[in-house]
Symmetry: C2
Subunit: 308 residues, 2 copies
């Protein structure tokens, strides 16, 4: 089923245009495949932005880059049950398809692909795609053994359906990006992965659909995450090479906010996600915290000269 949605761009407040923006919403795999077959036959370069919806500026920055560099743009919205654990926020995850459709239209997305969970995972579905435990059993995967296998499985399905030339991902989910890149290389998927910088609020908080869970008080505490990352960056810049000392300082900074429950603070080799004994080379500094009902993550990458 393909539905044409009309939405007056003028209804989005500040952004007043006279044009009526439209986006095609496709809800079945078969219809999506037919659209792709036609585009591929006409040699269109296809850009793909996979999302779980609840669009914010991070998503829109990915869509804009796809729009700029590809002939056709597909954004998908799918809250993937495989990547949520039994205690996690799948049911509560923010959904606003009407608003997302309007924003997609405004950004000139060609197709918004919104498949149903029961078509993506029929009762006899059993397949799984994953990469090695060194990538998926650390950081955000440490206590969620199935999480990243759920991510690579759904991304494999989406890439097979949409067959994009380029897929656009945000650095905020760095581990996810690295895992998808590994999967694409290992399995010869033949799709370029384009990674774009984390989009932040003015006070540094990384944009995330889950920020909507925060109370006012929690929201005031949240920028400490980015401040802690900047502290790490500063320490690396002035010569800190001991990961233990740096991580202790970062953790201490986070704990100045009493509402913040620190899940992990880590410094890793950015290519392999291995622990490092000395802070040198490309270092990923990554944080996950719980703040009220929200689990928030953020990271920065710092290139540390090996010789210094």
């Amino acid at each position: 089923m393909i539905a044409e949605r009309n939405s007056a761009a003028s209804s989005i407040g500040a952004n007043k245009t006279k044009r009526t923006a439209k986006v095609k919403v496709v809800t079945t795999i078969r219809e999506m495949e037919i659209v792709i077959e036609r585009w591929r036959g006409n040699r269109k370069k296809i850009g793909f932005v996979p999302t779980m919806g609840a669009f914010h500026e991070g998503h829109l920055s990915l869509i804009r880059e796809a729009r700029k560099t590809c002939d056709r743009v597909v954004a998908s919205i799918f809250v993937n049950p495989l990547q949520f654990g039994p205690q996690e926020d799948q049911e509560a995850y923010p959904r606003d398809l009407k608003r997302d459709t309007r924003l997609a239209a405004q950004e000139k997305v060609d197709v918004l692909f919104v498949p149903a969970a029961k078509e993506m995972y029929p009762p006899d579905f059993t397949a799984q795609v994953k990469v090695g435990d060194q990538y998926i059993r650390t950081l955000c995967g440490k206590n969620r053994p199935e999480h990243f296998a759920g991510v690579t499985t759904v991304v494999t399905k989406l890439l097979n359906i949409i067959r994009p030339h380029k897929t656009f991902l945000g650095q905020k989910d760095y581990q996810q990006v690295l895992i998808i890149q590994r999967m694409v290389v290992d399995l010869n998927v033949g799709c370029e992965i384009v990674v774009l910088p984390t989009i932040r609020e003015n006070d540094g908080l990384a944009k995330s659909s889950r920020n909507s869970y925060l109370s006012e008080e929690e929201r005031r505490a949240a920028p400490a995450i980015y401040q802690a990352l900047k502290l790490a960056e500063g320490m690396l810049q002035v010569g800190e090479r001991n990961p233990k000392d740096m991580l202790e300082a970062v953790t201490k900074r986070l704990r100045t906010e009493s509402l913040m429950d620190v899940e992990y603070v880590a410094a890793k080799n950015a290519y392999t996600l291995e622990d490092v004994n000395i802070l040198a080379g490309r270092i990923l500094v990554a944080i996950a915290v719980r703040l009220g009902k929200a689990r928030l993550i953020d990271n920065i990458m710092v290139d540390v000269p090996s010789g210094s």
Copy 2:
């Protein structure tokens, strides 16, 4: 690297033609992708026959069907290390690239794809594709937990590289066929799987590259496998509905050959590979034996009317 191989078709005995048959041999993934990109751009229907080489009439029947129904035919030869256990015959597996190249040329294969293991699995390779344990931990996977994950992983890679419209597989490896079908459906691979009947010697022995391991005496014993399957078929046709009784009779028939070491004899639901309490519906009867150095498998499918 692409090498054009010439081989005089007249050198293959009975099949005398005046034409000099040629087949392009491609050994790198990048070159293969370039060829496929060109064919896809020209809207050619691509047929694919994945093999481990040592071609016999079974392989040739798959190639001929691909040739008949597709514009372009790729056969791959890759003895996939992921699907061999540590105690298995990977090193001994018969290889004869020169003969395979000659036969591929004769059958008008367009490209023989012969990738190197070190390019298929570089040192940092970790990805894995698999389907549910109910398909991979039974029959030929029972004591080889990694075997079928190795199969689906390599087939995923090959399908991503070759992007065929149709892939041709032989029913002799029925469990493998079912698992690949499940994987293709579950992951939306968008490739048709065409299954062709088992090709047999005059005495009923299923053609297999591993038959070359058999001594003369073992070769004389080997047809008992098919005879045991025909016994099962006959019992089903005359109304046997008790799997235990049938499997005992089949096992007894196999054991009349003292050289034969029975690994399993099984009757399963042909779609789910589940055990059945009553022989009804589409039944897979499958056998695996060891005969000297060879591990041989065979199967038949019988449609048993539920009401009878």
